[in-house]
């Protein structure tokens, strides 16, 4: 029997933290995509993750679809839900103020949560890990292979997004909306379409996060709110609107939570991330990588 050293335990916490943090990072990136284009904080962001996990369970486990098919199918379904949210809840609001937009997205999130509890019930669901559950031993830390899938998909998402925003016309058009929606529409960019696209994109990213984390932490109908709050914490920590910031913020948030749960108290696991969120909001709302200038331009 190998002795568990403090170092290997710390390594364990760190890798667990990075994994959970990858999910927060993806949620934070989702927040940023919508925020950049619309200045809306979508409080239903966490529901995309929950839906990603549960729809994947439905397609992969219940329907028996293979992983390769179920993965993209889940993303497509969640993306459609993201599009529906924009069409049914956001666009019809006639004179949007911050308060009404916050309330509308909260309404959407509880509708989704209620529907999910109606469809799937209240029990958590498991999903088979992508490449088995034989733990890998690294320097004494025991790592599930699924951890690497989660971290890997964060990297893939980040690379894909940076290509999208820097190299494609559509991505550039979206960045233009983020800078100045009026000017963007003057040069012929369909701003409404870009808003729709932002919801679709961030739903898709949420789905990826949900699909990859479910084999590790299971998934149930009411996970969304907490994921949204922590993901938002990650986005703020990195600086709202900044993509590298969101990823850094997510990873830091996950690590703090993992070390806090391991070294201080596991019962207060959820509280650590929230306390970090409050501290950042109170003392440095512009975050680590956010620019004060951008927060001045933004209305909300």
């Amino acid at each position: 029997m190998e002795k568990i050293t403090l170092a290997s335990q710390l390594l364990q916490y760190f890798i667990t933290g990075l994994t959970v943090g990858s999910v927060y990072a993806m949620v934070a990136v989702g927040f940023n995509i919508i925020y950049n284009v619309t200045e809306i904080i979508n409080f239903a962001q966490g529901e995309f993750v929950m839906l990603g996990g549960l729809i994947m369970v439905f397609l992969h486990v219940a329907m028996g679809l293979s992983l390769i098919l179920a993965f993209p199918a889940t993303i497509v379904l969640v993306t459609l839900i993201g599009i529906l949210i924009d069409r049914l809840a956001i666009r019809p609001i006639r004179c949007p103020s911050v308060l009404t937009l916050i309330i509308a997205t909260i309404a959407v999130s509880i509708i989704i949560k209620g529907t999910a509890s109606f469809i799937w019930g209240k029990n958590p669901f498991d999903l088979p890990a992508f490449s088995g559950r034989n733990p890998i031993n690294i320097l004494g830390a025991v790592i599930q292979p699924q951890y690497f899938w989660v971290i890997g998909f964060l990297v893939v998402t980040a690379v894909a997004l940076s290509i999208f925003f820097d190299r494609t016309i559509m991505g550039k058009a979206m960045s233009a909306c983020a800078d100045n929606p009026n000017a963007a529409s003057l040069v012929g960019i369909n701003v409404k379409q870009m808003v729709l696209l932002s919801f679709a994109l961030s739903a898709a990213i949420g789905a990826v996060a949900g699909i990859t984390i479910t084999p590790i932490s299971l998934m149930e109908y009411d996970r969304g709110a907490m994921l949204a709050v922590k993901g938002f914490g990650a986005a703020i920590l990195g600086g709202l609107g900044s993509f590298p910031g969101a990823i850094l913020g997510g990873l830091i948030m996950g690590s703090i939570e993992s070390f806090g749960a391991g070294l201080i108290s596991s019962g207060y696991k959820d509280a650590f991330a929230l306390i970090v969120l409050l501290v950042i909001l109170f003392f440095k709302p512009s975050g680590l990588m956010g620019s004060v200038e951008i927060s001045r331009i933004k209305r909300f």
């Binding site: 308060l99 009404t100 509308a104 959407v108 509708i111 529907t115 709050v229 969120l277 909300f300």
Partner: protein
């Protein structure tokens, strides 16, 4: 909007006084008096929230925490230490006020989304504390054995007595709050809602007023929590979760945020929905709430209080179309 007529208040007070008598005559709604006690308890919270959100324009999705602080302070001090219930109530309100000032001071510098998230995070942290400090709170199983209220030997031991006690407080708070709205403070709050820079340019101490309203609404929520604990004799953390804060939001959004009457109507409707009319839906319940909230936000931005205006506008349009 600023003037609030006295006559409706008198009519409303009369209705509250005779309601238990009417309910007793009709067997089907006899238990409505019990539900009305809860409506009263929740009204104490939503009146304060309406002042905070509708008049001062500051969002809070964490008031379940203050409700819980009142309930747990009363519960712990009376059940475990046998202290006087009314003294505990005041202690609860004082603690809620201090916590509100500590959390409010940095939070209320934030705006919009940031404020919403800060209050959500605060609410969840307090909820976790209720669950984890098992020695004090009994943890997720809750705590029982909280005594009922009594005053100079008069026991509040029936639904009807609680009803009059709670609604007596609601009326007092309502009248006080209406007076606040119609005073200079109310005008200052509305100015803050319209534009903070403009308000501060006119000499309104924006920050001080925001904190004041936040503390006031927290104190009311704590008072409501104390009543809740004494009325039910049992509390557990799940009452004070994030969803309860959202439910409070639904209550005032449904009634109409910019109207204090709206808060009362919305609270009544939602409480009856959840305790009576939607009981059989169980799982669906939350979907119905979401649908109501979305419907109100998209189609009735001023809530039910705005309906007369919408109807009037529609008629005027019809008339002018005919010409």
């Amino acid at each position: 909007m600023l003037r609030i007529a006295k006559l409706p208040i008198a009519v409303f007070a009369l209705f509250i006084i005779v309601f238990p008598w009417i309910a007793r005559q009709i067997p089907v709604i006899e238990h409505y008096t019990n539900i009305m006690v809860f409506v009263g308890i929740y009204c104490l919270i939503t009146i304060g929230l309406s002042l905070l959100m509708g008049y001062a324009g500051q969002i809070s999705i964490g008031h379940a925490a203050f409700f819980g602080i009142g309930a747990y302070v009363s519960g712990i001090l009376t059940a475990k230490y046998g202290m006087n219930a009314w003294a505990c109530m005041v202690i609860g309100m004082a603690i809620a006020a201090v916590v509100a000032a500590l959390v409010g001071a940095p939070s209320l510098k934030l705006k919009g989304h940031y404020l919403a998230m800060a209050t959500i995070a605060f609410g969840i942290i307090v909820f976790i504390i209720f669950n984890e400090e098992i020695e004090w709170t009994g943890g997720p199983d809750g705590m029982s054995g909280i005594p009922g209220l009594s005053l100079f030997g008069f026991e509040f031991n029936s639904v009807k007595r609680y009803y009059y006690l709670v609604w007596g407080f609601v009326l007092a708070v309502f009248i006080f709050t209406v007076n606040v709205i119609q005073s200079g403070t109310g005008r200052a709050l509305r100015a803050i809602h319209a534009s903070e820079p403009a308000a501060s340019a006119m000499g309104v101490d924006v920050f001080r007023f925001k904190i004041l309203v936040f503390v006031y609404s927290a104190v009311l929520a704590s008072l409501a929590g104390s009543f809740y604990a004494h009325y039910l004799n049992f509390i557990n953390p799940s009452t004070f979760d994030l969803f309860f804060s959202v439910k409070l939001l639904i209550m005032i959004a449904l009634g109409g945020m910019h109207s204090i009457w709206g808060a009362i109507v919305g609270t009544g409707l939602i409480t009856f929905l959840s305790n009576e009319w939607l009981r059989y839906f169980e799982e669906f319940e939350i979907i119905v709430y979401g649908a109501i909230l979305l419907f109100v936000t998209v189609l009735l931005p001023d809530g039910l209080a705005g309906v007369p205006g919408v109807v009037k506008g529609w008629f005027r349009k019809q008339v002018s179309d005919e010409r």
